[in-house]
């Protein structure tokens, strides 16, 4: 019964279709090709899984752990790894595993959000400069050069003094530094594309500037942008760790991996696990993101991979 209904519907569809039209062949988009190439890159694939695993560990982990990251137990103090506290406890008797998880949350959040901020400003700024060209471009890019020359630490210290310490300020501060290279890359990509005939074709077809930028320019510079974004995340996390290490970043009782590593290195000779665990997760994340970025570059631009 149901089989005959399907047959009737199928026949209807055939009538609606162009009689002489054979089966439509599916095309392989460049994105699909790139994904396919990435799948063949073992190191990149493993890195992707490692990164996802670490992210899940940090995001879901605290809900599953019986310990609270703020709960102190001065009676036990710093203890090595054991069956109750897998990663041991810190000098205030707090469970280190939960601390590492929650520190990871903040580190990853800083990495992702600051990169997103950098991506948004950088792509728009760079695409505008590259598309408009001429004097506008010259002025916009000289501004980038000037900002590049500012010493980052002094800039952040000034921001902290002016606005007080907060996590959001750190997103802004780091994003504000990282968007510069993003803007340069997008601008050079757009400038190279603007000379291409398909952009001239889009102009001569009378498409609007918005359509040309969004549908013809940006999809074609997205490849290198994705690569740079992937490599920016670990760079941002390092910056955050550096700021936290200096005491300019995340403030107690919150912790990031940078804070934990800082605390760990102070007692490194007596309680080595306080340094080893956060440093291990931090290094693993940086490695996996860097390998993933390299893999993405090879996958999105197969020409450069052969060199």
């Amino acid at each position: 019964m149901s089989g005959s209904v399907e047959a009737v519907l199928g026949a209807d569809e055939d009538v609606g279709r162009e009689p002489a039209t054979p089966e439509i062949e599916r095309g392989a988009s460049l994105w699909r090709d790139a994904w396919h190439r990435l799948g063949k890159n073992k190191l990149a694939l493993i890195s992707l899984f490692v990164f996802i695993a670490i992210a899940l560990f940090c995001v879901v982990g605290p809900f599953l752990s019986p310990w609270d990251s703020q709960q102190q137990d001065l009676m036990i103090g710093a203890q090595g790894p054991s069956a109750t506290h897998w990663f041991g406890t810190d000098t205030l008797g707090r469970d280190l595993m939960v601390r590492v998880m929650e520190g990871g949350r903040i580190s990853l959040m800083v990495g992702l959000i600051a990169t997103l901020v950098a991506l948004l400003i950088g792509v728009l700024y760079g695409a505008t400069a590259g598309y408009l060209g001429g004097k506008t471009d010259a002025v916009m890019m000289r501004l980038v050069d000037i900002l590049y020359a500012l010493p980052f630490t002094i800039f952040v210290i000034l921001l902290m003094v002016a606005f007080g310490r907060s996590l959001w300020l750190m997103f802004v501060a780091i994003g504000f530094v990282e968007w510069l290279s993003m803007a340069r890359i997008v601008r050079s990509g757009v400038m190279a594309l603007r000379k291409q005939e398909f952009i001239e074709a889009a102009v001569s077809l009378g498409y609007s500037h918005r359509r040309i930028i969004l549908k013809h320019l940006i999809p074609n510079v997205l490849g290198p942008v994705i690569v740079v974004a992937t490599l920016t995340v670990p760079a941002v996390m390092l910056l955050e760790a550096f700021l936290s290490f200096l005491g300019l970043g995340v403030q107690p009782p919150n912790a990031s991996w940078g804070v934990l590593i800082n605390e760990g290195q102070q007692n490194m000779e007596i309680f080595p696990w306080l340094l080893i665990f956060p440093a291990f997760f931090f290094a693993l994340t940086l490695f996996s993101l860097n390998f993933l970025g390299d893999g993405l570059r090879d996958a999105l631009d197969p020409k450069s991979a052969r060199d």
Binding site: T21, E23, G27, A28, E197
Partner: protein, 348 residues
Amino acid sequence: MTDAAISERKETGESGPREDFLVLDSVSQHFDLGTGFFGRGSRGVIKAVDNVSLSIRQGEILGLVGESGCGKTTLSRTIMQIIRPTSGRIFLEGKELSSLSDREVRHERINFQMIFQDPYASLNPRMTVFDALAEAIRTRHPGVRGTALRERVVELLRLVGLSPAQMKKYPHEFSGGQRQRVAIARALAPEPKLIIADEPVSALDVSIQSQILNLLKKLRRDMGLTMIFISHDLSVVRYIADRIAVMYLGRIVELGDAETVVDDPLHIYTRALMSAIPQPDPRIERSRKRVILKGDPPSPLNPPTGCSFWPRSPIPHDERMKVVEPELVEFHPGHFAHDCPFCLQRAA
């Protein structure tokens, strides 16, 4: 053959072909290289297109030839209003394009379209054939979607000889000839009246070239298109064009019916170009006399004064023609050439 071509044109046009379908009136395209870094001294002006006047009949194919750097491509971009002319006026069916605002030009663009030289660069690599054609169709019919849109895409693909089954594919999955067919379909999608083809076959394999040329001829015949066909290859232009304009250093030096220009050229530059075409018959090839030009084309940044051809002409020019700029003069009905007595001389 010429009569047949004209009567053919009469059949396609409803009220007879329009003589002044596209008119260029002293069109120039000069690029100012600007001043130095501290505003000291001008770096000069490139006269890529210099004072070109031309009138194109409805339904004809005008061949535009010249060596590389002579301004053919700049002229095509100027007619397309991709670069607005420095001076001069351009009319399409009596409407002045050169005076329209950018926004108004954008709405006019559905009437004139372009086919580009390199089919590997002229298609967006991130868009399927269907998306690219649909986007172009919507420039004239903004509301069309669904089955109607699909039918129109299928119709366009059939028109240029591609299988509709391939419409969901991306440009990199096609050969050069197929891509050029996609590019032609895209140019036809807004239903233009004028097509400018900028070296549409020079990036293609010779065996594919004739297919594309025949397709363009067929489209002209079936759809009554007017076409400007740009090429540096005279044998290709001779095959497809009704009239030929020869460009040198941003100016038109000779203009006339294709057969006359090819068989009985007036200007020595045209004769040099003609003599460069190899003949397939070895006996004729052996007796082929070549007009050899001296040196390279001069830089348009600092072009020679007077008859701009004098530094390269095998016939020496006198001092007057090195200063006085020759005019385009009609020597026979419909056959124009630069009026320089030395360039028009037959070499002994």
